[in-house]
């Protein structure tokens, strides 16, 4: 079970969207650029007034992964070993998210496979974007 989340001012739109079953990513309107993790400024043009949240398709591909055998996080230690994959978003393959790839056996990660977003409850009920290989059984 993932730790719970206490949304802060910066990331609240991301978490509220997740609770509503939507994936949103920060976008700088000034330079038309997505960025994740969220920041108070655009990482490219440094603008701090043009940041908005844009809904994503919820599609991506598996870019890379490692298998965690020794997590520092107490609530996840019972689940070891587990996959942690890097997902590249369909809208911009340089934008990454992490995933435990629920449904994918440990260390049998299909690199390059298409994935779709799902939303999973954490320890305090906050939902978080997760990713499932397209066509895999839930």
């Amino acid at each position: 079970m993932k730790q719970g989340v206490a949304p802060d001012e910066l990331t609240r739109p991301f978490w509220e969207a997740a609770n509503a079953g939507r994936l949103v990513i920060q976008r700088c309107a000034a330079c038309d650029r997505l960025q994740h993790p969220p920041s108070r400024r655009c990482g490219e043009c440094r603008a701090d007034t043009a940041l908005e949240w844009r809904q994503m398709s919820g599609r991506g591909v598996i870019q890379n992964y490692a298998v965690v055998h020794d997590s520092p996080v107490r609530l996840l230690q019972a689940d070891q070993p587990f996959n942690v994959a890097v997902i590249a978003l369909e809208e911009d393959s340089d934008i990454q998210m992490y995933s435990h790839l629920p449904g994918t056996p440990v260390d049998e990660v299909p690199l390059g496979a298409a994935v779709e977003v799902i939303f999973e409850a954490t320890a305090n009920g906050q939902r978080v974007p997760e990713w499932r290989v397209v066509g895999a059984e839930a």
């Binding site: 990331t11 993790p37 298998v67 107490r74 996840l76 942690v84 890097v86 934008i95 992490y98 305090n124």
Partner: protein
Amino acid sequence: MKAHNAPAAMFRANEGMGLWEHRGKVAAVGIGHSPTARRWDGQPETSVGAISLLALRRAIEDAGVDPAAIDGLVLDPTTTTGAHWPKGRPVPAEMLNAFAATDDPLDGLAQLSAPWVLKNMPELSGVKFAMHGDGCMTRAICVAAQAVGDGLAHTCLVLKAWHNYAGRYGQGGASAGDALPGNVAIRALWGTPVCYGTALQFAEYCRKYGKRHEMMAPFMENSRRNGLLFPEGYWAQHRPEEITAEDYNAARWIAKPANLLDNDLPIMAAAAYLFTTADRARHMRQKPVYILGHASSRTRTRSMTATLDEVEADTARTARKLYEGAGISAADVSFENMYDGFTLFHQFHIEGLGYRGLKFGEALDFYQTDISIAGPNPVQPSGGNIGCGRTRFWMHTDCIQQLQGRAGRRQVTGVKPEVAVSGGPMPMGGDFMVWSATPG
């Protein structure tokens, strides 16, 4: 005396800055190390503050300098290996009685400050310049080198120290909690250990270049072998154990493909150097080792974690900055001591530098050749963090000692030690040095 963090302008983070304006005009002469320990035993005389004072005094003695003649002090105020003094736990009375305190009771216990050092080393009566180079020893070295070159100090101590307490690395604090702040959760919810990012890059490297994790074994054997020849190091002092290929390949995974031995061991230790102008250095006890240049990487990854492409672009950029500033090329480098904590990124550093003509994807094959201190292609003669424990300073001490000809049993014999490179920590984001036996 107040000390502030060094301004960004003191670091050479951009390409095209030309030759370093103080090339060959700043020298390292003194070295001081404290003993090492795995963890703090709770005694004031082994606290991070106490071992820092010891290292500083040893560096002064080594250089043969009157402490009152020292006018500069640069240190990294952060001393944690990942262990933090528990919030609300009182500072032990023995610590309060043993040292002159600043207004921050954690100084000397779980962090450092220049004011705390100066209060506890009254013999440093002439210090007029104090600054913090926050991050690691390399950053403090860059600040001190730049300060001496700029004339902010003529004789400057540089200090880095580490504390380590009981408990498993990184498992307290937020990791033990039931919830995370939203901005932290975006990265941390997936429970990745610190080596995860490097593991990802190494996995990508292996796929791209057709390499295997087992090919790192000769690097591990070499690093520990060299470290056991470093009398100041943790493994030489406490656990004189070599690493064999069998040990390495049998080690348990932390974040596959990074195993336990790919991670360095957190320890307590302190090291200090004495820097001065090239002119003054000639009159000190030890042979001067000249700084030809320094360079920094402040590149940030585009998203959650650096890709191999991002890492390789940045290590190549770092090499261009470093060589341009020092006025050398890869062919001038006698040996390298780039950072290794984690082992799985050492190859990124040396491939970026083009050490011995290496191109991207070639270092693991290079590791299968003679990379010992006796051969023509020494890799990490210091033994690095793998050979000596996590401090991020063995690489610098070794460069200075090798170029002074006083590395003892670790002295490189297959090459003439003339120019050396060291630095890190990360291949993408760090600070880097070029050292030389002559002013250039």
